[in-house]
């Protein structure tokens, strides 16, 4: 029973200094030339039952982080602790005991479902993959239970993916993940391919399932509003680096990293009066290619506060108090922020 106390103190997932590099270009000739550092020194923790949101633009490495945790990619550096065990170095055989506890929800629900399998067959496959024996009745009952959890009618079990709507397919994808009785669910852009009116259904479903089953989420998305709505803590990524980590409440009110602030400013708010009175700040330039990432702070070529320090040294994630971390030499706090606000007024 001593285990229990240990369990409470160790977070469900702890990522420490994660690195993931891919060789750039392929073929024999270009071997060992350049590497793309898709994820560079990323660390964060997720407590059990909580949701960690990872936001950033395409190519920032947020999906790669998820895939490293799922072991779709083998991390090239750093450690991933799942319930206190380092799973990065585990041989495949031993990792199998954790395999089903970490599940993934895909962005494209259609592509993640085998077009030749019926709903029943998809769920059955996920149920029986645990290697135990299941009777036909047990499987049938479990399939119905899973369909109930994601609010699909039992009659759907005979359908094929192409006969379902986008929202229904995503529910099926969630049911398949739940069939494995996961503790941690990595959600990779789970609503961005869905219609606006369906997104809210799925977001609410995620929240309900978390309450019912005590799930822990790593929620990866580019939509700040969605992530802020569902996550407890948010990490902002830029070019493979985690540049700011903060409480979701603080994302809108007090971000200190210039990139986070620019990102926020770029996202419109669906309220006429609020939106039209906001100051729009358009970030110049584009995200540089990760193959020749800039020196120093990755954001410096686009940052209006950049100085020589930024061009030369990579800022570390620093504690700003209250669980707020930021990797910036010139965070927009206190005096700097006030100055800007008066300039605005």
């Amino acid at each position: 029973m001593t285990d229990l106390s240990v369990k409470n103190s160790t977070p469900l997932l702890q990522v420490e200094g994660l690195h993931m590099s891919f060789p750039a270009g392929s073929g024999i000739a270009s071997k060992k030339h350049a590497v793309v550092r898709a994820v560079d020194n990323v660390s964060f923790t997720i407590e059990e039952g909580k949701t960690f949101g990872l936001v950033g633009e395409s190519g920032c490495g947020k999906t790669t982080v998820g895939k490293c945790i799922l072991r779709v990619y083998r991390a090239t550096g750093g450690k991933i602790f799942y319930m206190g065990t380092d799973i990065t170095g585990l041989p495949d055989k031993q990792f199998n005991s954790f395999r089903r506890e970490i599940q993934l929800i895909f962005q494209d629900p259609y592509g993640s479902l085998d077009p030749r399998q019926s709903v029943y067959s998809i769920l059955k496959e996920a149920i029986v993959c645990d290697g135990k024996r299941h009777s036909k009745e047990q499987i049938r009952a479990r399939v119905n239970e899973l369909l109930g959890l994601v609010e699909l009618a039992p009659a759907m079990s005979g359908r094929y993916p192409h006969e379902m709507s986008g929202g229904q397919r995503q529910r099926l994808g969630i049911a398949r993940a739940l069939a494995c009785e996961p503790k941690l669910v990595v959600c990779d852009e789970p609503v961005s391919a869905l219609d606006v009116s369906i997104q809210a259904q799925i977001i609410n479903l995620f929240k309900e399932l978390q309450k019912k089953l005590g799930l822990t989420y790593l929620f990866i998305a580019h939509d700040l509003a969605v992530v802020r709505h569902i996550a407890d803590t948010i990490g902002v990524m830029y070019l493979g680096h985690l540049v700011e980590v903060m409480d979701a409440e603080k994302l809108y009110t007090s971000p200190v990293h210039p990139y986070t602030r620019a990102l926020l400013s770029a996202v419109p708010i669906t309220d006429y009066d609020v939106e039209r009175s906001r100051r729009r700040e358009v970030l110049q330039g584009e995200v540089p290619s990760p193959i020749n990432a800039p020196s120093g702070c990755p954001f410096h070529p686009r940052c209006k506060y950049a100085t020589d320090v930024c061009r030369q040294t990579m800022p570390e994630l620093r504690d700003m108090g209250d669980g707020h971390f930021s990797a910036c030499h010139h965070p927009c706090t206190g005096a700097a922020l006030q100055q800007e606000q008066t300039a605005q007024g």
């Binding site: 779709v72 993640s112 085998d114 077009p115 030749r116 496959e125 645990d130 192409h162 069939a179 494995c180």
Partner: protein, 287 residues
């Protein structure tokens, strides 16, 4: 495969036959040929190798519905007897090649890396030798007779399956549902045969039916060259090649077995297309 599909999805069969008269006709043709090839020896009106020098190169008549050849042998009897050899060799060699080729292709495509490179280079090597020469060498080493012809033709057809499956799998492997299967803890072997193979099936069935035609032709050539099935035994292939010499005197000799080959190949193709569509849940709703 077909049996399993029937059990799981009874509607697949209905769709298959619901596709129209052509499919039914072709299933009928194939069934008839298989019956003939199995019970052939009881059905022949004459002994297929019996020489009758007084009745050579005759046209169709009541006594000889398809006429007689240069040695006075009854063409119909030889057709029936040849069906046995031709269908047997083509189906057996095609199936042999499919089983081996698909398995190798699936493994090479799914695991990629060094295994893939080695297998594909081997395949390239085999493909660089003309198929006929390759088959001839194998047939020569193994000696004549049906089993050695089956192995010889089968081996030359293997690379076509490996190539196609490897290419298909390389594409399919990137699909999210394969990643999904890995994440739920599905075993590699099951992923290969439960997800990758069924999704390769539509293209494979087309290749399989095409290869049956190739096999019949190849058997004919080998027999013609004298390495295949020995002379007095009739096959459709050697009937065509023998009849070729008398094309102007008696075109029946060439046409009848030729038409048989074409009929079987077309029937296989139509049945293959029908199977492909009826086994695909996405196409099943549409006719």
């Amino acid at each position: 495969m077909a049996n399993k599909a029937k059990r799981r999805r009874p509607e697949a069969l209905n769709v298959f036959f619901g596709r129209g008269i052509l499919v039914k006709l072709c299933v009928g043709i194939l069934a008839a040929f298989f019956v003939i090839s199995i019970f052939g020896s009881w059905l022949t009106p004459y002994e297929p190798t019996a020489i009758d020098t007084s009745n050579t190169l005759q046209g169709p008549s009541l006594a000889h519905p398809f006429g007689t050849d240069a040695l006075g042998r009854d063409v119909m009897s030889r057709l029936i007897s040849g069906a046995q050899v031709s269908l047997l060799t083509s189906v057996l060699s095609g199936t042999l090649a499919a089983i081996i080729g698909i398995t190798i292709g699936l493994i090479a495509g799914y695991f990629g890396g060094v295994i893939n490179t080695v297998i594909m280079r081997l395949v390239d090597m085999v493909l660089s030798i003309p198929a006929l020469v390759f088959a001839m060498v194998i047939a020569f080493i193994l000696g004549g007779g049906v089993p050695s012809i089956v192995v010889a033709i089968g081996f030359t057809l293997i690379p076509t399956y490996v190539r196609m499956v490897n290419g298909l799998v390389a594409g399919l492997r990137e699909n999210d549902y394969i990643v999904a299967a890995q994440i739920i803890g599905q075993k590699n072997r099951r992923i290969l045969f439960k997800h990758l193979f069924p999704n390769c099936f539509p293209s494979l069935i087309v290749l399989y039916t095409m290869n049956l035609g190739t096999a019949i032709m190849m058997e004919a050539t080998l027999s013609y060259l004298g390495i295949g099935i020995k002379a007095p035994q009739a096959t459709w292939g050697n009937m065509v090649s023998e009849g070729y010499d008398y094309l102007l005197l008696n075109p029946w000799l060439c046409f009848v077995p030729g038409v048989m080959v074409i009929l079987v190949v077309i029937a296989f193709n139509v049945v293959g297309d029908g199977l492909r569509d009826s086994l695909d849940p996405r196409l099943r709703g549409k006719l």
